[in-house]
Symmetry: C2
Subunit: 326 residues, 2 copies
Amino acid sequence: MAIKIGILGYGNLGKGVEAAIKKNADLELCAVYTRRAPQDITLATEGVAVKSIEVLESGKEDIDVLIICSGSATDLPEQTPKFAAMYNVIDSFDTHAKIPEQFKNVDAAAKSAGKVGIISCGWDPGMFSINRVYSLSVLPDGEAYTFWGRGVSQGHSDAVRRIEGVKDCRQYTVPVPAALEAVRSGSNPDLSTRQKHTRECYVVAEEGADLEKIEKKIVTMPNYFADYDTTVTFINEEEMKANHSTLPHGGSVIYSGTSSEGTKHVIEYSLKLDSNPEFTGSVLAAFARAAYRLNKEGISGAKTVLDIAPIYISPLSAEELRAHYL
Amino acid sequence: MAIKIGILGYGNLGKGVEAAIKKNADLELCAVYTRRAPQDITLATEGVAVKSIEVLESGKEDIDVLIICSGSATDLPEQTPKFAAMYNVIDSFDTHAKIPEQFKNVDAAAKSAGKVGIISCGWDPGMFSINRVYSLSVLPDGEAYTFWGRGVSQGHSDAVRRIEGVKDCRQYTVPVPAALEAVRSGSNPDLSTRQKHTRECYVVAEEGADLEKIEKKIVTMPNYFADYDTTVTFINEEEMKANHSTLPHGGSVIYSGTSSEGTKHVIEYSLKLDSNPEFTGSVLAAFARAAYRLNKEGISGAKTVLDIAPIYISPLSAEELRAHYL
């Protein structure tokens, strides 16, 4: 019998999870829950119900795991603990500084309900975290470097869109090739924020907008752009649609460490993703399987990808994995 | 209190584990056990006892985990189950086809003794297996490609050394650049054994040996070389010592998969290792920590790297990992 999945939120990420579920015969999409009017939403999967988020709150929906695909900033801190008190849940909470707090809140709720709540699952946090921890555990005398891109940062794109006179923006985060090379050589360089990544903004301005002013606003924006070398390119809507309509991303965790005087090792984990939301959705789908299985074993409380053995996320049996993939 | 480690076997791998233990404050090397005469062995670590393997067989040695650093072919199938009936143990058993049998034997022995026995731990099997399983679980519609090298294969070097007229040999396994490139592009190529790797042999021949005959014997050797493009270069002993005295290795697991029609993702995990035995030893040391911790939790039986959550191999606490590495 397939594992019954509910998706909360049908934006890019929710659609990515939906695509992932189609690739997994043991997962079944049972319902999509939304804050919008359900009748306004047409799913890519036929025969699946779209329901109001309100029906979830009964705690009685017939799902094994709820995959919460809402925004990290304000929705997940509220929704994940709330629904962990009713269902096995999983989210992709990515506000790194607030992970301990999210963990604590989800842990309390999930334990009280005898459910499992997996937080911060995706690729960073997620697959990148797993690789950072494996590497630093195997080679404690070393250093981890994380590079993102080339890829679209939705947070940075949104920040630019909020500037007066900006109609649309796509922001690409780009690792600096010289920095990548230095790290891959095993030289353990000290790298500033500016030395690691550059930022490229493709901006559609409103007619008659002051382009110089927009550019200055972007490149001096604190937290988002001020610490980076940022280039701004103004384009028209047709170009935006033709060349910037997908959401590719990726990056690398490069770890360089020594096992004895003069003996170096470099470990690199890298992702080249055609679609950030579909890959993140694929990670969420695999770990939703783990949430279900852990809970079946009587386990409850908050978990992260670091707490879960690889065997729990595979559709294959332990015997098959040992025989063919070890 | 530190975790008390015993090492069985003081060859390249045993020395690699010894080096790794020095990098981990929570691991303490308590004794090295050997089949040789203990007085003939001088450890790199001062103040640690070298003992005969026979004292291990009492089952009463005061160690938390025994790291077994013997050969896969004949020693580990006998030693790992035997000592799993007395101690928590870990090995790097790498005869892929016989892993299910080794698992079964170690599982029975370890369960009867209430101990944990981790088998097939290192980088392949080991870190590469972990990456194959994560990738295929996240993107089930895809394919894993494993490349080894450039690096020294000790098994192939030994095979050449057994040829009449050969004094010494170092065999390098080298991935074919065009194959790597094709796989990284996401094109999911079908690749024969010959298309994936070439083999380079550096051979010191005995004086007066028939070089042509040696070369022919090497390149036509079934299983080892017949299916590869192999080059043989004769060198003298000085060159061997000057240019081929270390044991570098590495490789890549490249996984290419799709999440929906036309949407591709490429995941690559790669290792560049100055010393194969020191890196393998470092992986063993980290997972020895897991053997100890799992056993402390009351768990017993055989485990592989696939059964163990990342959190168990880190010296850091779950809270620290969540706060700083997730």
